[in-house]
Amino acid sequence: MTDERPVVLLPQVPPLGGSYVRGVAAGGRLAVERRLGRAGASLPALAYEVAGVRPDAEHLTAYQHHVGESGSDRLPAGFVHVLAFPLATALMVRADFPLPLVGMVHLANRVEQHAPTTLVEALDLHAHAENLAPHRSGTAVDLVTEARVDDRLVWRGVSTYLAKGVRLAGRPADDEPRPSFVPPVPTGRWHLDAGTGRRYAQVSGDRNPIHLSALGAKAFGFPRTIAHGMDTAARTLAAVGPARGDAFVWTVQFAAPVLLPSSPSVRVARDGDGFGVDVWHARSGKLHLTGRVDPLR
C-alpha cells in the first residue's frame, strides 16, 4: 500500500444501513462537543480495508440500468465507488471523525480508472480521509478510496465533502469567487422523475434521507428530494460512453443540487483529448454540475 497510515482490515464491507442513524447520533454529539470546545480538529489516522470483494452480477445490472451504462461485465467507475463507499462512510461515522456525516455536501469527485476491472475479479478496497481544509462555507475533507486487483491499483477515487458552518481549520486564505456559468448549446436532456433518488439509493445502498423523501429532504433544508451527486456524476460518465477508453480521469464539480423531478439540460462534447460535461437547469440556466472525462496519462 502506498499509504503510511495504520490499516484496519475489516472482515467484510460494512453495511450502510445503520450509518445514517449513527451519523445523526454522532452529529448531535459533535455539535455538543463543538459548543464545549472539545471537538477534535484532526482526521482519524488510519485506513479501512476489505480484501477480496466480489461484485454481484444482479447488483451490477441494476446499477448499469439506472445510470444508463451498457450492460457490460466491466464495472463502471461509479459502480466501484458504490462498492468502496461504505468503507469511507465507516470512517466518517467513527467517534474521532471531526465532521458530522449527515448534512455534509458533496463538493467534487475525482476518479482515476487505471485499468478496466470486471465482474469476475476480486477487489481489495481501501479508504482513508485526508486534507481537512478550510472552505468559505465551513470545512472540507477528502475521502480517498482505492480498488486493487492482485496488488495492482485499478481505481482511485477522491470525494470532497463540505461540512457547512463547521470551522475547524480556520478560514480559507483566499475566497476565490465561483466562475460564472453561461449555458452552452445543449446536446441532450435528462428526464429524472421523482423516484430517481429512491432508486439510486437502492442500487447504491446509500440511503441518505435527502434522496428518499420530501420530509427527509426538508429536514436538511431542501424543498424536495434531490438527485444523488454520484448518480448525476455517473450519468455524465455514461453519456461519454465507450469513448472514455480503458484508462481515464473522471472529474465532477457539484454546483447546485438537482431538485426532483427535473429535466436538466446536458452538454457532452469533445474537448481536447477528452470530453467536457455540463448539466444545468433547463429554464433558469443555473449550473448543477460540471465535469470532464480525459484519458489517463
Binding site: T61, A62, Q64, H65, S70, G71, S72, D73, P242
Partner: protein, 450 residues
Amino acid sequence: MAPSPSPRKSSTSGGAPAPTARRALVLGGNRIPFARSGGAYAHASNQDMLTAALDGLVARYGLQGERIGEVAAGAVLKHSRDFNLTREVVLGSALSATTPAYDLQQACATGLESVVSLANKIRLGQLDSAIAGGVDTTSDAPIAVSDRLRRALLDLSRAKTVGQRLAAASRIRPKDLAPATPRTSEPRTGLSMGEHQALTTAEWGITREAQDEVALRSHQRLAAAYDAGFFDDLVTPYRGLARDANLRPDTSLEKLAQLKPTFGLGLDVPATMTAGNSTPLTDGASTVLLGSDEWAAEHRLTPLAVVVDAEAGAVDFVYGEDGLLMAPVYAVPRLLARHGLTLADFDYVEIHEAFASTVLTTLAAWESDTFGKERLGLDGAFGTVDVDRLNVHGSSLAAGHPFAATGGRIVATISKELHLRQQRDGGTPRALVSVCAAGGLGLTAILEAA
C-alpha cells in the same frame, strides 16, 4: 488474393457478361454463453446481451473505434422501446458511433437472415464489412397492457373535453388491467410450436428413443467441443457464465428416458416429446463478422468461410398440409438444385434442433421416396445425411435456443469448423445450414471454406 471485378467497374464496360458478385466472407464470430430462462441473465436486457456479444467481437478482432459498413441484428421478443435496438447497441459499444445499423426480424431465422442480408450487400459491393447478430431473452420479455386498456388510454390521451375523458376512462374495467404476456402459440392455429411439432412427429412415426439419441448426441458433442477448446475464440464469458447453462455433459439415455412427455399429450399415439428432447427457453446473443476479401486483407483477418447462397421457404401449415417446422425440407432441394448439388456434396449439415424430432422429421422427409416424388417433384428420395456430418459440435438442444441468436451461433461455429477442416484436409469443404421458424418459415444457406 484475386478479387473478382466489382459490379460498378464492369457495368461501365458496356456489353460485358453479367458481373460475378464478389465473395462475402465469414471472418469470425462471438457470442455470450446461453443461459436458461430466469438464470444468469434474468435481469439482463436484449440491449445488454447484444452489446456484450458485440463488444466481445470488437475486442477479439481489434475493431475498437472502427466504422463497420453496417450492423444488422434483431430479436424475436422485443420491447416497443427497443425499436432501434441494434443502433442503440452500436452506440453503446466500442465501435465507432458512425457505424450504421438496422433491426430485422424473421422469427427464429432472424440471426441467419441478418447474415444472409449483409452478405448479399457485401457481394453487391454496397458494404465492405458488416456484423450480423441476434439476441433474445425470455426472462426480460415484454409485457403489454390489454388491448381494451390500451385503446382506452389512447382515446383518453386524444380526448379534448372532460366528457370525452370521462367516457374513455369509464370504459376501463378491472379485468383490463391484467397484463398481456407475449404468446408463444401460432396466431392462426392457437397451437404452440411444440404442439405443432408433435403432430409432425406423429405423422412421421418418430420414436422417443430416436429423439433422445439426438438430444444425447447434441450434449455430448457440445461438451466435447468445449473441452477441446473449440469455443475459446467464439464465446466471451458473461455475468459469471463461461459455458452454456443448458449443457448437460453427463446426461444419458437413461436420464432422458425418465422425463415425462410435454407435447402431443392429446394425440392417439404415445407422446414422445419431452423437456429433454425439446429446446428450453433461453437467453443469449450472438454476432458474426463479415467482410470482403479486400477488407479482410486490410485488417489482417483470416477468412473462415464464404456465404455462397441462401434460400428461404415457407409451408402452408394452417390447413395441415405440412408440419409447421418443415419449410427447410422444401427450401434445401431448391437451393441445392440452383448449384447442381446433392446432399452427398456436403461435408457438414447443420439442422437447427428446435426439437430433436424437427431434425428427424426433416431427414425422414428427405429419405422418403414418396415425399420426394409427390411433394418435392423429384424422381425419388432427396437424399440422406449420416450423423457423422450432422450438427458435429452439437446444436440447440444442448446449447439452448435464444431465438434470434441461434443463426449466428450456427454460422460462426460451422465457419470455424470449415476453416479447420480445410487446413487439415485441403479442398473446399462445404456446409449446409437449415433453420426452421415460426409461421411455417425456414431459411437455409450454403457456406464453404474460404
